[in-house]
Symmetry: C2
Subunit: 154 residues, 2 copies
Amino acid sequence: MKKSTLRAAFGIIALSLATGVCAQVKPEDQIKFRKAAYSFAAWNSGKIKANLDGTYDAAQVQAAARAIAAVANSGMSALYGPGTDKAVGDQKTSVKPELFTNGAEVGKLAGDFATAANELLKAAETGDAAAVKVAYGAVGKSCKACHDQFRSRD
Amino acid sequence: MKKSTLRAAFGIIALSLATGVCAQVKPEDQIKFRKAAYSFAAWNSGKIKANLDGTYDAAQVQAAARAIAAVANSGMSALYGPGTDKAVGDQKTSVKPELFTNGAEVGKLAGDFATAANELLKAAETGDAAAVKVAYGAVGKSCKACHDQFRSRD
């Protein structure tokens, strides 16, 4: 089995397991929590960028990388359950319907994000700004890959 | 210097440093990001509770504890800058004005939250559900202590 196929299969299994364990979260809250997770990651991503562009504070970069890795490893597939493909209550969403019908691709992209985030954390723990810069670029690409396919512009 | 005084002093220093580094975040985004961080922590807290009340999945609890610790150690004081004491744009806030005038107490409570979250992560890494239950209770108390003093009910 190829690595990408394995990853996709793992994504689907993770999705099933996580959906089972966390079925008690209401659709409206699932949308709220997933947007919160991405916002929290975005804030921490901005801090890493500021450190790479300015004065490098290794402790701050490590804390931010831990935050992004925590998001990537938090089992967010549980937050894309039935009824979360469009706005619920006051929670809007920019997710495209395709996300809910292409589990293999979503699983692969989620795996890529986790891998990239874990590599970023490893790089941050070394304190080597050049390595962080490379790993940070890879995380950005993994975010964009999913946005390009599964996030609408509105 | 007593431990509590040290913690408070550390909180103030951390606040100053973090505010300096992250001054580029707009007040509206500061409110958005801090609410996102707490929401992300709340979702992960809910997962730990579900694990303690039901079937215990050590890997899921570890991931959730990492998420809460990442929030607690992310330097959130940077998200309580000038102009974030009331709603900005479409970002509402439940923060009380007292938070902005009682840095010593806020620093102490933030330190308590980080300590409790780090203890929870240590407990989660052992896989001992009983230890996690105790540490989880302490995190809940540290959340409540801040809410009681600095969050309004509306």
